[in-house]
Symmetry: C2
Subunit: 334 residues, 2 copies
């Protein structure tokens, strides 16, 4: 068996893979450390939405990974927080093949063994809420491993814990990862748990990216005041680069997880926040801002009330429905 | 605020609620302690599938619960292992309303507050993988709490970790709980993680229950040898009581989580095990055994490969599909 150390420029889902960074799969390059709040920076080190696509003919695949944090959450599994999961491409679809379950800060897990030697196309998703110090993949001594990553126009998601992947059961089921597999497109997950505050410093960083789609999913981290105060400055900063004047920007409404919930105040405040968002967006559109959209939460999740773990964070049912809703709406646009 | 201590005879999902037990929501009464293996007994203390249905007009609801074990699993949330979740009945459906997330061995969590005083019908699901030492519900000092439990012919599920609820994101999403809510029927969950061995001592305990449906879901804990050795003695013991000669008994096949998985040996062995099961069942049927069924795994989960956390244990997608498949098959029978 031989081990290959995975580097920043082998993966998709990070911003500027060629720029220097302290941890190989931190989402932002090091140069932005002092441009964003400390909380955002710390979370940006987590490998949410980062993945690697590769071909190999190995009969056995082992993942060895070192984690930075002993981080736990009561409403999310350790596999999703700190583990990996593997998909194989078959008949143009990505099929889930197995998970590497973390036990401690240093882990070594066999993802499969005893397969016939044959070239296969895999994709491995990295931890959603932890920071990787290193990742190595082990293959048969005589096998090959070929990284397969083609740059495509990325979809950039900026948002909250829900964007970051809370509370999928494993990394591949975060909605940005589902969308990435379904579209065969690069998705960059800039979900910052509790810190999706629609901030200008983030917009400035994003404004430099060419040919992207921006999806803004901050509503669970902001209230009516912040929506009114931040939406327009955020948008101006995001479109500050002339070449990007036509990049599509999509806002998600805040979803109502249970429209008949006995706590009417909460429902009312969600609907008010969505109205406030629309108002700000419409002002921008009236001022000549193009390709700016709001995806309605309506019809997204309504078939039952089973899709969250705690009334807010999606479980796997929620992520499946949310991704489907996004893809349906996106299709209407493009 | 006043607290009501919940007792064994307030809940559904345990065998013989009136019989004495050490922990109020252990699934088997104390008298069976020496009738089953130690491992089965220890797991039987867990409150998997136990729930309480009640009416209250309280504006605030608080749950206080003490746990026996500091038990964690890397591929399951603490909410599912040791927490509670609440449903409200509205328009004849049970809607998820909120979760009580555990922090330690002793927990006190507010499930809702500030509601209008109005009689509502709730159901609370208990931890799937922990043992409760006590449970109290806190309501407004002037509110009423009326336990609402009508005995109905129970569905008894005997099986593995998957039956016990691994790996739902919260208790209410274990498949026996989904089925119980959808049918408005008592379900008793005798899933014993790693220990669903199709054993005669369990069959003897179950044989005493009248007017039940028995659903046997042990395939992930047994191999071809055990299937051949245990199936017929288990069935004979389960039907040893004359009055129960017509109680329906349903076996689940083992499901194939990914029919195109590159590890063909594993798929082949699952299909062989299902054949072995059918062979034993057919022998019984030929000998005059009535109302004995096998629910095929075919068509249950196939729409994609996303429904497990680790290739074996269901996530919430898996449980939703598995429950739906069961209900569809059950409808054909009755």
């Amino acid at each position: 068996m031989k081990f290959k150390r995975i580097k920043s420029n082998h993966v998709q889902g990070i911003l500027e893979p060629e720029s220097s960074r302290k941890y190989p799969f931190q989402r932002l390059p090091q140069k932005y450390k002092n441009k964003v709040r400390q909380e955002v920076w710390d979370l940006s080190e987590n490998s949410a939405g980062v993945s690697m696509s590769f071909f190999t003919n190995t009969s056995t695949l082992v993942a060895k990974w070192k984690l930075k944090n002993k981080f736990k959450m009561h409403h999310m599994t350790d596999v999703a927080i700190s583990g990996l999961d593997l998909y194989q491409k078959r008949n143009k679809c990505w099929d889930f093949t197995g998970a590497a379950i973390p036990e401690d800060l240093e882990n070594e897990v066999c993802l499969f063994s005893g397969l016939k030697k044959k070239l296969r196309h895999f994709r491995i998703h990295l931890p959603l809420y932890n920071t990787l110090i290193s990742l190595e993949l082990g293959i048969d001594a005589d096998a090959q491993l070929k990284i397969n990553y083609k740059e495509s126009d990325p979809l950039i998601f900026y948002g909250t814990s829900i964007t970051q992947g809370g509370c999928a059961s494993r990394p591949g089921l975060a909605y940005t990862n589902i969308i990435s597999r379904k579209l065969n497109k690069t998705c960059i997950n800039l979900g910052f748990s509790g810190n999706g505050h629609l901030e200008v410093p983030i917009a400035k960083i994003l404004s430099k990216i060419n040919s992207a789609f921006f999806i803004i999913d901050c509503m669970w981290n902001i209230d009516e005041n912040i929506i009114t105060k931040n939406t327009r400055p955020f948008l101006s900063a995001l479109r500050s680069k002339k070449e990007n004047s036509q990049t599509p920007i999509i806002f998600y409404e805040k979803y109502v997880s249970d429209i008949n919930h006995p706590d009417k105040k909460q429902i009312h405040s969600i609907l008010q926040e969505n109205l406030a968002l629309k108002k700000e967006i419409n002002k921008k559109i009236k001022n000549g801002f193009k390709k700016l959209y709001v995806f309605s939460q309506d019809g997204c999740l309504r078939e039952d009330s089973e899709f969250t773990v705690d009334g807010v964070h999606f479980n796997d049912l929620g992520f499946e429905r949310f991704a489907k809703h996004f893809l349906k709406n996106l299709k209407k646009l493009v």
